[in-house]
Subunit: 172 residues, 2 copies
Amino acid sequence: MLVDRMTSDFSLGSVEVALSPLQRFEEFLQSRGKRMTKPQKLLIEHVFSRHDHFDADTLMEQLPPKGAAGRIGRATVYRTLNKFVEAGLLRSFTLDGRAVYEHDYGYPQHDHLHCTQCQRLFEFQSDQLMTLRDAVARENRFRVTGHRFIISGICENCQKSRRRTHRKLDMI
Amino acid sequence: MLVDRMTSDFSLGSVEVALSPLQRFEEFLQSRGKRMTKPQKLLIEHVFSRHDHFDADTLMEQLPPKGAAGRIGRATVYRTLNKFVEAGLLRSFTLDGRAVYEHDYGYPQHDHLHCTQCQRLFEFQSDQLMTLRDAVARENRFRVTGHRFIISGICENCQKSRRRTHRKLDMI
DNA sequence: ATAGTTGCAAAACATTTGCAAAGTT
DNA sequence: AACTTTGCAAATGTTTTGCAACTAT
């Protein structure tokens, strides 16, 4: 699941980042008396080598296959992704019943447009949305911890190329 | 999962509705050569007797138990809820990995505040959000079919009563 | 009579967990 | 050595599906 964004390549420093994802994770682990391992290191490197959205299964497919050296088990992938979220490296949300992950650390806040035809995710940023969110929360005496906003529809490309395709109702 | 809303009781006519949910579903079925059955009728009546958010499991618990007359199997409940969504009677979204349903037919458009402590859902309506949504879509040459916007946080009540409780990171 | 619907049990998925073996500090 | 992490397989929780019996048209 590729991202389509004006500033497409991730680079440290796109927001105020002092440490690399790897360094930050090492700090996180140390602060909790946990250990850095090869699978975790490999996963951080893989995940931060390219800015895209992915799920556990897609990630697994990109890693060394069952026989190969450096093979990582499914359970480890899930456990590690959870740690990355805890550590603030990744953010996750649910799409069609499965968890989708994306960079959080060093990446600016944004929301998504989801094309229900090609399944691609497009990012956008809106200060107005944050203002609106906080206003709604205030009116309802809510202490906000986060939000998810996904606009679903058909992207420009799919409108052009497959105008006649019929879609089924999607869960929004 | 109860709703907290100023206008709490559902009544036909809260939006422009000519037919009752049952009638509308009958039309839907006829237009597709499908059949109305007792389980489906019972489910419509049950589901539209009270405006709240619910999931398949909660619904099952409220129906006649395993031995009783009028017992409805789990598969039928799932199949029927899917039909209701297709028919535009219900709307559904995912919360913590399971599908949550709410009235769509005859009920005004709205979004949600989700308390991650007590799990309650609160509704709010914002024209500004729709305007923003459509503007973002236009800018990205997207044809919008829907959206989901959930603000997560702690509701007023939980802020008062359980200020010391520690929560775990929630998936937003 | 024809074709759709039901209930049950089994299957399908995505994710988590128990546990012995292996790895880190 | 003490304790964490890993990989596998088994368990979990939710939703879907195959199929024979049943039901609406």
